[in-house]
C-alpha cells in the first residue's frame, strides 16, 4: 500500500439495500458487473482500470478495483446514490464528509510519525499507543484498509479483499470491523451521517430506515462482540487499556486517570451525562457510545470516536475539532472537550 497511487474510481451508482433498523448492517446491492469481472478481460483488454499492480493482474474476489479504488470519487460528493466515498477529489472537509471522515488524495498520504490528520495508507511507523502483542505488524507495505495490517475485516489475511470477504454481501459486523473474531457492534446511519455533518441542525433520527446518526457501542456488549473503542485498541491499545500502569493503560495504580477514558460512562451530573438526548451538533462533534449500541434509555459513554474520526479530518490527530481552540472559560463552546466537560466552559 505504501507509495500506492490514489485510485480514482468511476462514479458507481449502487443503492444500499438496508437490512432494517436497529443493529442491521447494510448489504451491497446492484448489478454484479459494477464491481466484478469474471476473467479481467473484455474485448481483449483487461477490465481493471487502475491500481499499483499491472492491470492484467486480476484482483482477488474478481474485483474491478481495490478498496480505495472503489471508495474514491472524482467528484466532491461523499455519498452518491447511497454509495460511500472516503476520498474525494475536491472539497473534502469536516463539513463535507461521512462519519468516518476522509482520506486525502493518495499523493498526499502522510507517512509521518504522529504528524498527520489522517491514517496514512502505507505508513510503516508504529501506531501511537501500540501495545505489546498487538496483531498489527505493518509488514513491508504498512497500513492498509483491511486484514493483517488494517482495520476492516479479519486480522489474519494479508490481502484486503480476503480479509473483508463476506462483508459487503453478507455483513455480520458494524462497518466490517472485528476484534479477533468478534464483530464490532454498532448501528449505522443509512447515509453515513452525511446530512448531519453537512447541516447539524438536521433533526436526529436514531433508528429505522431514516436513521441519520451512528449509534456506537461502548462498555458492555455481547460475549462475542466488541465495542468500537476496542477496535481502535487493536492498534492503540495503550490508550484503551486500564491495567493500572503508566506504560499501558488509562489509569495508574491508584486508579487515577492518566489517559483520556474510553468506554466509560460520563458522570451523571454532567450536562451530557446519564440519559441524554443528543442533537445533530452532538452527533457531529461529540458522539457517544452506548451499552449494546442501544441508545434509548442508556447513559452516555465516551468512546474513541467521541473525539476522533477514523479515516481523517481537517485537524491534527484526526480530531473532530481543533484541539488548540478548546479554550476553558469561554462559556460558549458546547462541542469538543468542552462539549462534555461543561464545568470547564
Amino acid at each position: 500500500m505504501k507509495g500506492k497511487k490514489l485510485l480514482w474510481s468511476l462514479v458507481i451508482v449502487i443503492s444500499l439495500l438496508l437490512c432494517g433498523g436497529g443493529t442491521g448492517y447494510a448489504a451491497v446491492s446492484g448489478v454484479c458487473s459494477n464491481c466484478h469481472t469474471m476473467h479481467n478481460s473484455q474485448g481483449g483488454e483487461p477490465m481493471r482500470t487502475d491500481g499499483p499492480e499491472p492491470l492484467t493482474t486480476p484482483l482477488s474476489a474478481l474485483l474491478l478495483n481495490d478498496c480505495l479504488g472503489c471508495h474514491t470519487t472524482t467528484g466532491g460528493d461523499p455519498l452518491v446514490g447511497g454509495y460511500p466515498y472516503v476520498s474525494l477529489a475536491t472539497d473534502a472537509t469536516d463539513d463535507n464528509c461521512l462519519a468516518g471522515g476522509f482520506f486525502p488524495p493518495m499523493s498526499e498520504m502522510g507517512m509521518g510519525d504522529n504528524n498527520d490528520n489522517h491514517h496514512g495508507m502505507g505508513n510503516i511507523n508504529d501506531p501511537a499507543g501500540k501495545q505489546t502483542g498487538s496483531f498489527y505488524t505493518q509488514g513491508a507495505t504498512g497500513l492498509s484498509c483491511a486484514g493483517i495490517n488494517g482495520c476492516h475485516g479479519n486480522e489474519t489475511d494479508t490481502d484486503d479483499m480476503a480479509a473483508i470477504s463476506g462483508g459487503h454481501h453478507n455483513p455480520s459486523a458494524y462497518r466490517i470491523l472485528y476484534v479477533d473474531d468478534d464483530p464490532v457492534l454498532g448501528s449505522g446511519a443509512k447515509d453515513y451521517e452525511e446530512a448531519i455533518i453537512d447541516v447539524p441542525s438536521t433533526p436526529v433520527e436514531t433508528s429505522g430506515d431514516t436513521q441519520n446518526v451512528n449509534i456506537y457501542s461502548a462498555g458492555t456488549v455481547g460475549a462475542s462482540e466488541a465495542t468500537i473503542s476496542e477496535l481502535c485498541g487493536k492498534c492503540h491499545g495503550v490508550f484503551h487499556g486500564a491495567n493500572g500502569t503508566p506504560a499501558n493503560g488509562t489509569t495508574n495504580a491508584a486508579g487515577e486517570w492518566i489517559r483520556h477514558p474510553s468506554d466509560e460512562e460520563l458522570p451523571t451530573d454532567w450536562t451530557m451525562g446519564g440519559v441524554y438526548v443528543f442533537d445533530g451538533n452532538d452527533a457531529k462533534n461529540n458522539p457517544f457510545g452506548y451499552e449494546n449500541a442501544t441508545y434509548t434509555g442508556s447513559p452516555t459513554q465516551v468512546t474513541c470516536l467521541s473525539c476522533h474520526r477514523a479515516h481523517g479530518t481537517d485537524n491534527a490527530d484526526l480530531l473532530r475539532w481543533v484541539y488548540t481552540t478548546q479554550d476553558a472559560g469561554t462559556d460558549t463552546a458546547d462541542y469538543g472537550c468542552l462539549g462534555c466537560h461543561n464545568a470547564q466552559r
Partner: protein, 374 residues
C-alpha cells in the same frame, strides 16, 4: 459390368469417409449417401456443391448443412436429424445447447461479443487472438475462427477450429462418449485436441436432440475434473489443458482460453471465476440449484449446466458438496456458438442484480445469498 463395379466401389469408399456433418447425437448419420455426398461435384453439367468440390465429397460445408431459415433447432434430412446452429430466419426464440450463431452473424447485427466469429458465418473481430489465449502465428485458429488459416492444414478452418475431426459415421451409440484416449467414437460433439492434446477429446453424454427441449432430466452431461491446481503460476503454459485436465469440456475451452483457468493467486484467493471447481456445501453455495442446504442435492437447471466427476447416465440432480461434488465449468455460464448476450453468456450479466431478490438463476443459481440476502 466393369464400369458398374467401379461405381459401386467408389460409392462404398465414399460412404466410409468421415464427413464434416454433425449427425444425431446417439446415432451415427444414416440415410442415402447422395443426401450428403457427390462423387464428382457434377450433375447435368452443373456443380453440386457451391464453392466445391468439397473435402470428403460433400454437397455442402458445415455452415451450409447446419444452417436453416425454417428451424432454429433441428430439421430432417432423409432419415437423419440435423442440428441447426445458425438460424437465418430471424431472431431465434429457441436454440440448441450450444446456442446459435444468429447474433454474431450479419442477420443478427454482427455483434462480435455475442458469439464465436466463425468462417462462413461472420467476419473476423478485432481481437488478435482468443481472449485468455495466444497466437501460434500463421493465421491459425487460435488467432481467429473466421479466417482461412495457414498452419495445421490437416485441420479445416472455421467450424473445424473447434470440431477438429468430425466423425459423422463414427459409432457413438455408447451412453458416454469420448472417455478414452484416441477414441473412435468421435468424442463428445467431435471436440478433440491436437499438439499436446493429440489423442484427447471431450467426454460427455450427448442429448439425443441436442437439448432442443431440455429439462432437468433431459440434457447433455459434461465431464469435469476438479483436482488440479488452479493457482498461478501453476498453468504456466497454456498448452497443457487436455494433458492436465483430462477429457473435460473445460480442458477443451482452455485450448484457446487457457489463461482464464489460472483462477487463484499464490495465496489461494480466487482472482478469476472458477471452472471445474466443485460446488461446496458451505456458505451460500449449499443452497445452489434450490438445495435445502447441508449437502442436500439440488435440481439440475439446463440453463446453468454443471460438470460431473464421473459420467454414467443423465441425472436430474446436482450433487453439492461431499467427496465428489458437481462442478461449475465454462459452459455453466457460456454458450459456445452464440447467445443473445454479450460474452456468449447464458444470461445478461448486467441484469444480475445483487440484493434485488429478482433472480434465482444465472449467477444466483450458485451465489444464492447475493440475491436474496437471506
Amino acid at each position: 459390368m466393369k464400369k458398374s463395379l467401379v461405381t459401386l466401389a467408389v460409392l462404398l469408399t465414399a460412404a466410409a469417409l468421415i464427413a464434416v456433418f454433425c449427425g444425431p447425437a446417439s446415432a451415427k448419420v444414416t440415410g442415402v449417401c447422395s443426401g450428403c455426398h457427390t462423387m464428382h461435384n457434377s450433375q447435368g453439367g452443373d456443380l453440386v456443391a457451391t464453392g466445391g468440390p468439397l473435402a470428403t465429397l460433400l454437397t455442402n460445408d458445415c455452415v451450409g448443412c447446419h444452417s436453416s431459415s425454417d428451424s432454429s433447432t433441428t430439421y430432417v434430412l432423409g432419415t437423419s436429424t440435423v442440428p441447426v446452429v445458425n438460424f437465418t430466419g430471424g431472431e431465434p426464440t429457441t436454440h440448441l445447447a450450444g446456442g446459435n450463431f444468429y447474433w454474431v452473424a450479419d442477420a443478427g447485427g454482427n455483434r462480435d461479443a455475442a458469439g464465436h466469429n466463425v468462417l462462413g458465418i461472420s467476419g473476423k473481430d478485432s481481437l488478435s487472438f482468443a481472449p485468455g489465449g495466444f497466437s501460434c502465428g500463421g493465421n491459425a485458429c487460435h488467432d481467429s475462427l473466421a479466417i482461412e488459416h495457414a498452419t495445421g492444414l490437416s485441420f479445416g478452418s472455421g467450424c473445424q477450429g473447434c470440431h477438429l475431426r468430425p466423425a459423422h459415421h463414427a459409432d457413438d451409440s455408447a451412453t458416454v462418449i469420448g472417455a478414452e484416449e484416441s477414441s473412435t467414437d468421435g468424442y463428445y460433439r467431435f471436440l478433440s485436441g491436437h499438439f499436446t492434446g493429440e489423442g484427447y477429446g471431450v467426454c460427455g453424454i450427448e442429448d439425443s436432440d441436442w437439448q432442443a427441449d431440455p429439462s432437468a432430466g433431459d440434457h447433455n452431461e459434461y465431464l469435469g475434473s476438479s483436482g488440479e491446481d488452479k493457482q498461478e503460476p501453476r498453468l504456466t503454459s497454456i498448452y497443457v489443458a487436455f494433458r492436465d485436465l483430462g477429457h473435460t469440456m473445460t480442458a477443451f475451452c482452455c485450448g484457446c482460453h487457457g489463461k482464464f483457468h489460472q483462477e487463484q493467486n499464490t495465496s489461494g484467493e480466487w482472482i478469476r471465476h472458477p471452472s471445474d471447481a466443485g460446488i461446496p456445501a458451505t456458505g451460500e453455495y449449499q443452497y445452489a440449484f434450490g438445495s435445502t442446504g447441508g449437502g442436500a442435492s439440488g435440481t439440475y437447471d439446463p440453463l446453468v449446466p454443471v460438470a460431473r466427476a464421473t459420467l454414467t447416465s443423465v441425472t436430474g440432480t446436482v450433487t453439492i458438496g461431499g467427496a465428489s461434488p458437481d462442478m461449475v465449468m465454462c459452459l455453466s455460464c457460456h454458450r459456445p456458438h452464440g447467445s443473445p448476450y454479450d460474452d456468449l453468456l447464458r444470461w445478461d450479466y448486467s441484469d444480475m442484480l445483487a440484493g434485488g431478490d429478482e433472480n434465482t438463476t444465472g449467477c444466483f443459481a450458485c451465489h444464492t445469498k447475493k440475491d436474496t440476502g437471506s
